[in-house]
Symmetry: C2
Subunit: 389 residues, 2 copies
């Protein structure tokens, strides 16, 4: 596999942790890095030198006016040192971005997917990547791809992508062959979590969860600074934990799942049943809820209640420092957030209720940017270790 043969930009774990610290907190002085990481000045200097030589870091004060005494020269990441492409696959379109090393979106494109066969999608992704490389302000060195479903990040295989009906597809290998670049694939919610970890709400905490709401309920977990993949890459299936003893059957085949109450489909099912309008869409359900329609309000409140219980499960089992609520479903958060917070407060155990629960509406291109963030992480950390996932 191409990725595994690609060297990382840093020599070892110490250099990687220093780079991540500069990424998150730069410009930052060496002494502050030393304090933050508990490393000696000598260790910092030895690790920083090759990163300066290779152009990933720069001394921010370079070129500034000379100062008396020993100058404090903060370090920062050279955002334009190289660029990454991030791609998000869905059933009907592909969204792609070019980001710099600070995960700032520098260009974006979309393409329709009319044929979900593997060769057709590979061709569409390849075209999109080539266009984005032309858009990029500098060299693109890696590609990250995010997809909903079961991704085995250690094997770099899409085990099962329900929206595309794919099983065991070695997508990175295929796209690497057509583009000549290292490619990494990751579950879409984990990609979003990686972006939050290095460039967002996870920068200042060792453990946090990202919970996405929308068509499904997803969850990414960072514990002790590492993304949790699980034994077979299935960690974070929060939409399918059982929170009630009965209820309608879930699309996964089980009963009692969070998604049977809290997903968009579940909300729609309930509003449709109450209104008798089988063609009612989500926008109408939201409008009904905002207009005070009792059934719509009830459906969103029930969804919020179930979501709050799911968040309490995360808090009671993992006790993360922070939970970040995100996803397209947040557009209607006025209809369920207070129910979710009340339910969370009711079911969180003891001090676990103090978990920092924040909402992060998705800006444009967030999913594709997440995939690019995974590519940045792989540049500096290498592939997911097989035995540590």
């Amino acid at each position: 596999m191409m990725l595994l043969a690609t060297p990382t930009a840093v020599a070892d774990a110490t250099a990687a942790s220093i780079f991540v610290t500069v990424l998150a907190r730069g410009p930052i002085a060496r002494s502050e890095i030393a304090t933050a990481l508990g490393l000696s000045a000598g260790t910092i200097s030895r690790a920083v030198r090759p990163l300066l030589d290779s152009g990933y870091l720069v001394e921010d004060g370079a070129g500034g006016p000379p100062r008396l005494g020993r100058p404090v020269v903060p370090l920062r990441v050279v955002a334009d040192r190289e660029f990454m492409v991030g791609v998000k696959l869905t059933a009907d379109h592909v969204c792609g971005v070019v980001v710099d090393l600070l995960a700032q979106v520098r260009a974006s494109r979309e393409a329709a997917v009319t044929d979900t066969s593997v060769p057709a999608v590979v061709a569409t992704v390849t075209d999109l990547v080539e266009q984005l490389r032309a858009d990029a302000p500098g060299p693109v060195t890696r590609i990250g791809i995010g997809v909903g479903g079961h991704v085995d990040s250690a094997a770099q295989l899409i085990r099962f992508a329900p929206f595309l009906n794919w099983r065991d597809v070695p997508l990175p290998e295929l796209v690497s062959a057509t583009t000549g670049l290292p490619v990494v694939v990751e579950n879409d919610v984990n990609s979003l979590t990686a972006a939050e970890q290095w460039f967002g709400a996870g920068v200042d905490v060792p453990s946090f969860a990202v919970v996405t709401i929308g068509a499904g309920i997803g969850c990414g977990l960072v514990i002790a600074g590492s993304l949790v993949h699980g034994a077979v890459g299935l960690a974070g299936e929060l939409g399918h934990i059982p929170i009630s003893a009965d209820g309608p059957r879930c699309r996964c085949g089980n009963t009692g799942c969070v998604e049977t109450v809290a997903s968009e489909e579940a909300i729609l099912r309930r509003v449709r049943a109450a209104s008798g309008r089988d063609d009612l869409d989500l926008a109408t359900a939201v409008a009904l809820g905002r207009a005070g329609d009792r059934d719509a309000v009830g459906a969103f409140t029930a969804a919020g209640d179930a979501l709050g219980r799911a968040l309490a499960v995360v808090a009671n089992l993992i006790n993360p420092h922070r939970i970040v609520l995100s996803g397209e479903g947040l557009a209607a958060s006025d209809l369920f957030e207070s129910a979710a917070r009340a339910s969370f407060a009711t079911h969180a155990f003891g001090q676990a209720v103090e978990c920092d629960l924040i909402t992060r509406p998705l800006p444009d291109h967030t999913w594709a940017r997440g995939a690019a963030a995974v590519a940045i992480q792989h540049l500096f950390l290498g592939p997911t270790p097989t035995n540590g996932r």
Copy 2:
């Protein structure tokens, strides 16, 4: 705090990982360690030398007959290099053991607790420790204490021990002052998990959960090789995750908790209500269940069903390689295990159902031995990092 000032037995993380590998798999050749950890022969040799010099490791072939060619001399841990005392606190008694570096129990004692005030318990523990030091085959160098409740392992404080009604008790500091030894305190289920991690069912997997059943339902989590403590030390409150929308109020004050159906108290409540016998005890409930009494069978089956759903939550959210069921409640596993396994299979998501689900009945002294295992881990890894928990 005494513990924090105590140096660890190994110089760095590499030496620690080598020691743990020898602990789990020794006698083991250097070349096998190198393969297992992905380290060079030179790195192994450099790290092993001080461990040999300080007597923690020995070359197993030393003193054996001379052989032709380059000998393979496996390494093993010197179990009797030093000894640890492990203590488990409960509301009415204290159980203590002496273990060697392989966590083998070499002596054990118990003492009654008639006064649960902090000074009285410290005095009882101190007496027990002094007796165990006299029993030990060699020098005792550390003490581990396990207690049910909310332990902040980073601060080394018992935040809340409901059975003792203690809040914010710096027990390690107090026992260290009376015994002159470094002392570490840990939640009792986490202690059991630490023992499984280094000396039991967790040795060969990077992630696993220990779920204990009995008076309460507890859970310890190891992910990517590290015990998960959570932001405030509350990770693993599996007994208090909500699995139903209503039901009786839990002792924690919430509703829908796993413990309202699956704890011994919940089973007893149900059998008592059905039989009209308010003084019926657990042994009688078990006997009724084994005799086929419908209500007792129903109570144990409901408990098994709830337990299975809780295990599915762990599998779907964490996707560990293995789940180890343990605890006093396993003595009646014939009455609930099949219901638990059926419920687990029903609610586990996709391939997460393949999680290795094993039962480990508790031998004598297991809880105290777990606390001693925490002391062994602290000897080699140092205290829990404040920012990585």
